[in-house]
């Protein structure tokens, strides 16, 4: 698979380390009430869809950026690649 890096252009997927579902960006607040249940959900449960899947890839053999890749889990086709930083900021997570 080729991942079209937003800054570096097309890169072999072998340069990356796969993390998993992009919802892992949305880490729960450890100080909030009911945080046990929220962290169980965050750490262990997954949607695991057949079809379009937003997922985190880390460019370890490259610029060490985290990417959010939208990929079809049935065909392996990649339809969009964003910097995870931008995605997190758009969710209001970055300071």
């Amino acid at each position: 698979m080729i991942i079209n890096h937003p800054l570096l252009g097309p890169c072999d997927a072998q340069e990356f380390v796969y993390k998993g579902d992009a919802s892992l960006i949305d880490r729960p607040d450890g100080m909030a009430d009911g945080t046990d249940a929220a962290f169980y959900d965050y750490a262990y449960l997954r949607d695991n869809p057949a079809g379009e899947h937003r997922e985190l890839w880390y460019h370890e053999q490259g610029d060490r950026s985290w990417l959010v890749v939208t990929r079809n889990t049935v065909t392996h086709e990649i339809t969009s690649v964003e910097l995870a930083r931008d995605v997190a900021r758009s969710m209001g997570r970055s300071r």
């Binding site: 072998q14 750490a43 262990y44 057949a50 997922e55």
Partner: protein
């Protein structure tokens, strides 16, 4: 019809006119006591043991495609019980004992061959870990044997003992491990279940569950609603997709695992060997092909095929161990979808929905578990209590912190 050598001889002399289909092709009835979703090895084994051992009646197995068309037909056919942890080892040893009597039990030639499995040791630390694992196996009634390099060289003279990076320093053998003709497992269980009255309904996809007031009343299928007292789901590989129809999210990711078979060769490999420094395992089928595999591809996938980097990685592992492999031509490569769970161990449990039971999360170890998985799931469905070897395989172990993590990798499914 009972199969026997005498029967084969009789049919040979009478033009093979007496054979009948091994199982019926019934239409679904409106209601069953127990409906099993998934006509793979585990689902068929569950139905078989429900009917035979637990004396249950009015059972159906519902399969989207044809029986045995999923992972029971796509694996590398290895059976073994060389696990370390208390939650796992008694279960897998129970499974191996069932394999040992399986063919007589269901009167079908599954070609169970206890040719032994050998895990190779490459470092001192690995030897310590394998001695510990071997002791864990022996404590649970399994067999384990530590082999020296001299012993290994007698049995496996063709391995590369002096690889500069991964020299072979010994091995942990389980002589009772081996291989089984995988398709015959599905067919044997199907025939055994069918002859005890189980309806095996193929080409019937489950499209939803009918759940009212927290109770599962049956399944909606492509062939209409089928009512059920209890529904057991055994669809590893597609567990998340099916259970999503009941509104559940699982501690599972689906990953593609590739397997390989070479052209047919004369006998070269006496048993199953696994490389300890990379991920490579290999056996020789009775047709002569070398059957081997390695790591999963490592990213979520429902495609029953993988990509080239893992093929290269597996081939490198094979060459490091077994240089003669380089002259062998590859015949086929295929992929299957694994339920990779968050701790690398399976789940056999009730769900929070009354009457809905789940069996899945087998990672890439589901084939060897087939008999015990069927037995334990049947036990759970029939008695509402877990079988004594499967008490650890609960849904809530993640929330409660009782993970069964053989590899100690944590909640990262592609590392198990």
């Amino acid at each position: 019809m009972r199969y026997s050598g005498f029967r084969v001889l009789k049919e040979a002399l009478t033009g093979h006119k007496g054979w009948t289909p091994a199982w019926r092709d019934p239409d679904p009835q409106p209601h069953y006591d127990i409906v099993i979703v998934g006509g793979g090895g585990h689902g068929l084994a569950t139905a078989y043991y429900l009917a035979k051992e637990f004396r249950q009646h009015r059972i159906a197995v519902i399969e989207k495609g044809w029986i045995g068309g999923g992972n029971v037909g796509r694996n590398t056919t290895i059976i073994r019980s060389n696990y370390l942890l208390d939650g796992n080892e008694p279960f897998y040893e129970f499974s191996l004992k069932l394999w040992e009597g399986l063919e007589q039990d269901f009167n079908y030639n599954a070609m169970v061959s206890q040719r032994g499995i050998l895990n190779l040791i490459h470092t001192d630390a690995q030897r310590d870990a394998f001695i510990r694992r071997g002791n864990g196996m022996i404590l649970n009634g399994a067999d384990a044997e530590l082999l020296s390099v001299a012993q290994l060289k007698r049995e496996y003279p063709f391995l590369n003992y002096d690889n500069a990076r991964f020299p072979i320093k010994g091995g942990l053998a389980q002589r009772r491990g081996g291989t089984v003709r995988h398709d015959a497992v599905a067919w044997g269980y199907a025939r055994g279940a069918d002859s005890r009255g189980v309806d095996i309904i193929q080409n019937c996809e489950v499209t939803g569950f009918r759940i009212e007031n927290g109770k599962c009343l049956g399944v909606e299928t492509s062939r209409g609603f089928i009512g059920a007292g209890k529904v057991g789901v055994a669809v590893a590989g597609s567990s998340s997709r099916v259970m999503a129809k009941a509104g559940m999210r699982l501690p599972i990711e689906s990953h593609a695992l590739q397997a390989f078979v070479s052209e047919g060769l004369k006998p070269v490999l006496p048993g199953v060997i696994t490389f300890g420094a990379g991920h490579f395992y290999c056996s020789q089928s009775d047709k002569g092909g070398l059957v081997f595999g390695g790591d999963i591809d490592g990213y979520n996938s429902y495609a029953q095929r993988g990509n080239l980097p893992v093929i290269e990685d597996v081939a490198e592992g094979g060459m490091a161990l077994f240089p003669g492999l380089g002259r062998v031509r590859l015949l086929r490569i295929w992929g299957g979808i694994m339920d990779m769970s968050m701790d690398g161990s399976p789940i056999i449990d009730r769900t929070h929905i009354d009457g809905l039971y789940f069996n899945g999360g087998w990672c890439y170890g589901g084939f060897k578990a087939t008999p015990a998985s069927g037995w334990c799931f049947a036990h759970l469905l029939a008695t509402d209590t877990p079988h004594k070897t499967a008490t650890a395989y609960r849904f809530d172990r993640f929330e409660r912190g009782y993970l069964i993590d053989e590899k100690g990798m944590g909640a990262q499914p592609n590392l198990h």
